[in-house]
């Protein structure tokens, strides 16, 4: 049984060595050499990420500032959903590319489970939507990329009891190259937008829909009728009569599920994602506010609060920064950042500001 146990030890920041060695070291320190364990760490944003190969171990060590917090779980108890999505998923582009690199260059090494990837987008509710529609979820906060698309007014043809009818609709008009929307491959120019986070857009103006999308931008779910209907999943249970081209009948408004419930989307998930307003307590003299990026403690404390009982928490303290309280308040962290000449090394500048847990003063 793993209880909550805490160990603190130091490691050479610049020569972290191999993952294998580190793994052994961990097992040795904790006297659990006979167990299969999963090692994870809290990255700069407070997300729980796995350590299971040389690359992400190196990444973990190099981005630790000043201390690397390592979580050890028994392999068979690992709740993969804790990685990525449910850990206040905040994703950085750097990590995405890192992962991709892993896959390409060293396909032989131990690649973590799909859950370890922070999701960027997904198709949801396939089972309840008509096959001509697609519900896409974009995880804005899982990615540093801009959402990157434009919408426009247009007309769409619908089948109604009175025959074909032209009705105004909202369409995707442009994708920004390199943006999140484009990189998912799930949205395309001229796709008609039918719903935004479960709210139908019919009868709403372009500006209203724009505002709705921006208001939901941290976790945007849009239901579209793709302009290209050839990639749709054809379900056998359906009548085969509706081929990709004669989609008008299924595209009629009545075929949309009437309830606005998004099945695979737990409301609390959205709530928690969003409530992460950042609160800085305590007195700050105005003139002392640095013109720098600072890190709040809220996200870290959140992790602590949610730590499971059978999870080992280890603090890995790097070099001279021992004794610093991991849960210390923002101002201590701030001053440590200021005094530590290496802070520029550990915080990639561009990446920080986009992140939800960091505020800009």
């Amino acid at each position: 049984q793993f209880g909550a146990e805490f160990r603190r030890f130091s490691l050479d920041r610049y020569k972290p060595g191999k993952f294998e060695d580190f793994y052994k070291l961990i097992l040795h320190i904790h006297h659990i050499a006979n167990l299969e364990v999963m090692i994870g760490y809290a990255d700069v944003h407070g997300d729980l990420l796995p350590i299971n190969n040389d690359d992400n171990f190196f990444k973990a060590v190099s981005s630790a500032h000043p201390l690397l917090r390592v979580f050890i779980q028994r392999q068979d108890e690992v709740d993969y959903s804790n990685f990525g999505t449910n850990t206040l998923s905040r994703k950085k582009k750097a990590l995405v590319t890192l992962r991709n690199d892993n896959i390409r260059r060293r396909p032989h090494i131990n690649i973590s489970m799909p859950h370890d990837f922070r999701p960027v987008s997904s198709i949801i509710d396939v089972d309840i939507l008509p096959e001509t529609h697609r519900r896409v979820r974009l995880y804005r906060h899982g990615c540093e990329k801009p959402l990157g698309f434009y919408i426009r007014d247009g007309t769409s043809v619908r089948v109604t009891p009175h025959g074909l009818e032209k009705v105004p609709g909202i369409f995707i008009s442009r994708m920004v190259p390199g943006g999140l929307a484009e990189s998912t491959g799930l949205l395309a120019v001229n796709d008609e937008v039918l719903e935004v986070n479960g709210i139908e857009v019919a009868g709403k103006t372009l500006d209203q829909v724009t505002d709705m999308m921006i208001a939901n931008s941290h976790n945007l779910i849009i239901t579209v009728k793709p302009a290209n209907q050839r990639n749709n999943i054809i379900r056998s249970s359906r009548m085969s009569g509706s081929s990709g081209q004669s989609t008008d009948s299924t595209a009629s408004h009545h075929s949309l599920p009437t309830s606005h419930v998004l099945q695979n989307f737990h409301p609390d998930e959205m709530e928690s994602d969003e409530e992460a307003d950042i609160v800085i307590e305590g007195g700050l003299e105005p003139q002392h506010i640095p013109k720098l990026h600072s890190l709040t403690s809220s996200s870290l404390s959140r992790i602590n609060g949610s730590s499971l009982s059978h999870r080992l928490q280890r603090d890995l303290v790097l070099n001279n920064n021992s004794g610093r309280e991991s849960n210390g308040n923002i101002h201590k962290l701030l001053s440590s950042l200021k005094t530590d000449p290496r802070h520029s090394l550990v915080i990639p500048r561009g990446g920080i500001e986009e992140d939800g847990t960091v505020i800009t003063l």
């Binding site: 804005r140 801009p146 959402l147 990157g148 698309f149 434009y150 919408i151 426009r152 007014d153 247009g154 008009s173 442009r174 929307a181 986070n197 709210i199 709403k204 103006t205 372009l206 500006d207 209203q208 829909v209 724009t210 505002d211 709705m212 999308m213 921006i214 208001a215 939901n216 931008s217 941290h218 945007l220 409301p267 709530e271 969003e274 409530e275 992460a276 307003d277 950042i278 609160v279 800085i280 307590e281 305590g282 007195g283 700050l284 003299e285 105005p286 003139q287 013109k291 500001e353 986009e354 939800g356 505020i359 800009t360």
Partner: protein, 999 residues
Amino acid sequence: MRRFLRPGHDPVRERLKRDLFQFNKTVEHGFPHQPSALGYSPFLRLMAIGTRSGAIKLYGAPGVEFMGLHEENNTVMQIHFIPDQCQLVTLLDDNSLHLWSLKQHSGASELREENRFTLKGPPGSPPSATQITAVLPHSSREVLYLGTESGNIFVVELPSFRVLEDRSITSEAVLQRVPEDCCNRRSCELVEALQEHPKNPDQILIGYSRGLIVLWDLQNNKATHHFLGNQQLENLYWQRDGSKFISCHYDGSYTQWPVSSDNRQPEPLENLVPYGPFPCKAISKIYWQTTKNGLPYIIFQGGMPRASYGDRHSISVVHGSQQTAFDFTSRVIDFFIIFSSEPTAEFDDPSAMVVLAEEELVVIDLKTVGWPAVHPPYLASLHCSAITCSHHVSNIPLKLWERIISAGSKQNIHYSNMPWPIDGGTNIAPDPPQRDLLLTGHEDGTVRFWDASGVCLHLLYKLSTVRVFLTDADPNDNMNTLGEDEWPPLRKVGTFDPYSDDPRLGIQKIYLCKYSGYLTVAGTAGQVLVMELNDEDAEHIVDHAEADLLQDQEGYRWKGHEKLKTRDGPVRFEAGFQPFVLVQCQPPAVVTSLALHSEWKLVAFGTSHGFGLFDHQQKRLVFVKCTLHPSDQLALEGPLSRVKSLKKSLRQSFRRIRRSRVSSRKRRGGSGNASEVQEANAKFDQEALQEMELAPVQRKIEARSAEDSFTGFVRTLYFADTFLRDSSRHCPSLWAGTNGGTVYAFCLRVPPAERRMDERVRAEQAKEIQLMHRAPVVGILVLDGRGTPLPEPLEVAHDLSKSPDMQGSHQLLVVSEEQFKVFTLPKVSSKLKLKLTALEGCRVRKVTVANFGSCKTDDYSENDLAVLTNLGDVQIISLPFLKLQIRYPCIRKEDVSGIASCVFTKYGQGFYLISPSEFERFSLSTKWLVEPRCVVDLPEVTSNNHVHNKSGVENAARKSRNLGDYGEDERKSGRLMEHALLNDEKVLKEIQSTLEGGR
């Protein structure tokens, strides 16, 4: 948990909602936009104004107002009251005639359209044959004489509008009865004027455009006299006894003609060009008024020397040796003279002249020496300088009210003491429940205080902040310093003056504390003035401080306007609000938020760069806080202010004026081509639509980031005495919300009263909240332990509010453009929220706490949030549970300036600008409703059709109310509102098409 707080419909609550909330647009305040016609009934003592959008408004005694709207939405060209009736006829520019009447319905009079009519000529005749140019309602009240462009005069019966063809006076018939030597075929083209003989209803005077004037006998169908003018005729006016009449002409002359039985073709008695000898502009209307002392009043419009004064809008009054040319700042639409209407009176004895100019109503007292202006109780020109902001204060204490009125009366000494001469009808509305002030800030640096308690929005006092600053234009150099021998004897009248000396003087934010009389105003160039009410004139130095909001931020350079220069040394201020502190923000950007705490004697102000707190007791800056994001360069260029450079604003003013001139001259050719026009419009619309398809409007979907522009823009400031640090001690605090979704909270230490001057006020930042969705914060509010908003400063001290619950836990409500969110205090954690934008796609534009009382019981009232969205909807959201109660469409979403101008009152009413010069008043409450309710009674009418009654008011007061059959009326009133909406839409399209055409 939250899911369980959203139950379905609770029938009890639904019933209560019906008792609390109700939406009504109640009355329009101010001056009608683009007036086009004026009418007056000496019998009812009511005035009617028609507008270019087809509205017709009737005004009598203060509080007596009616409004109607023509379905066609066409310009009202002429308005004529039917003699001795509660009826009037309007002529629109589509050549249609409309009969309106005032009828009583459940105790109050209402204006309804009764009938409409378009004159049709014989098939094949040109449209000009029936184009109406002159309308004469005959004193018999049975017929209308309609003069046309063809020279024919048609007669229609009232109220049926049936054409009486046998009674038409054709131009051929007139020509036959006039000697051939004095006229030809063209003499009878276009009837310019029709006037009934004042004593003999069987005779009418017909004036043709080319100068021929004929006195026509209706009984015998013949011309009794004809008068041959050699100038193009503009108008005619009978002398009271019918022995003479006067004609005015295109060349700026007027001519007197005798009417006697012995001479059938008299020569003119007098022919005069009053502003000759050089060529003059036309005299378009003239009055000849007799008096007891023998000297007549000759009052005429226009006639100025063409070369040097041709651009003036003037009306001249000549009485013996006295002569004044009243000079108006905008085009004169029409005017009338109020004189003795008693038929037995021997003389006219004019008492007042009422002039409708394009931008204001001016009334001149003709009985008092010097002919002073009369202060109008309504129809105020709200836009005499463009309105830049407004602020409403409910329930003003009597003491402050009286002091403001007394300060205002000292400013109004140049006005006449004459009681308001247009006094028809009786106001039967209950007295306003409380004294309300509406303060409007203007582009020229003035603040106007309006009595907004009742139906008549009435100017109480005008405050100017200009004296504090050194401006280019010296206030002493006014335009009235004309020498005695100046000719023409011009005298500028009216208050409409759209020219701003310096746009930096513009007022942006106002806050008045009704208990202490402290007022703070802030303007375009970062100036913040704190003022105190003083009943006497005083000369003193204004303390001056500067607040550097950038502090030591480096690398910034302000590219906007300079700050205002201040006047050194003491400045003389007139009685009223006198400034004693001036804070100037650096950089001098527009002040975007302002808060005053009169008990703590603190004023907070914010711009796009940061905010500051000033102690106006010790006259010391407490702190400043820069909110600027390092990457936000745009905020420094001052684009908000750059839009209004001096040059540009002048240019725009000129353009505005020019445009209104051009459009007002627009006259439609004929009525026959209405369908063609429609077709053309439809085609145009289609083309426009196609064009839109080609180049679609795109909207970028992107999350807000910290680096967006103007994230540091301070949107709201709020003082609260609450639990900021711990739950055991409360302390004064200042809250600020920015455009980037950040809320700052500062803990304040205000020394106790006895050491207030000795110890400094201290401030310390206690909290900073970054809303995840980063939407602009538009409102911050603290709710006490009972969920009630904290009272205003000094409200408890004046026993006007229960003291807040300082035991229970306070809550913080942050309203962003997208969400309403309640947090706990002192530890800030989210408790409750309403996501408006995510659900409805609309954003919050205005939000206020309003108190709603039940119309059923006196003892129930509750506080809710009144919200206006960017779609123009008004919503009520409950406190503290943030549940949407009710939603009404209020303003069209395209009407951006209307939405931006909206202010809510503390009791669920609101105002917004429907034009630059008019406020629409609306009410969300069932209890507080200010709307006109008045009665106009028809004085007794005897069988004799030519009896004039003494005065409408006297009769109105004593006559019993006459209730008739109203079935039809109700149907019509139902449609009226639809028309209003329809018309709005049309106006909008018109505006849009003009804009597109202009590009």
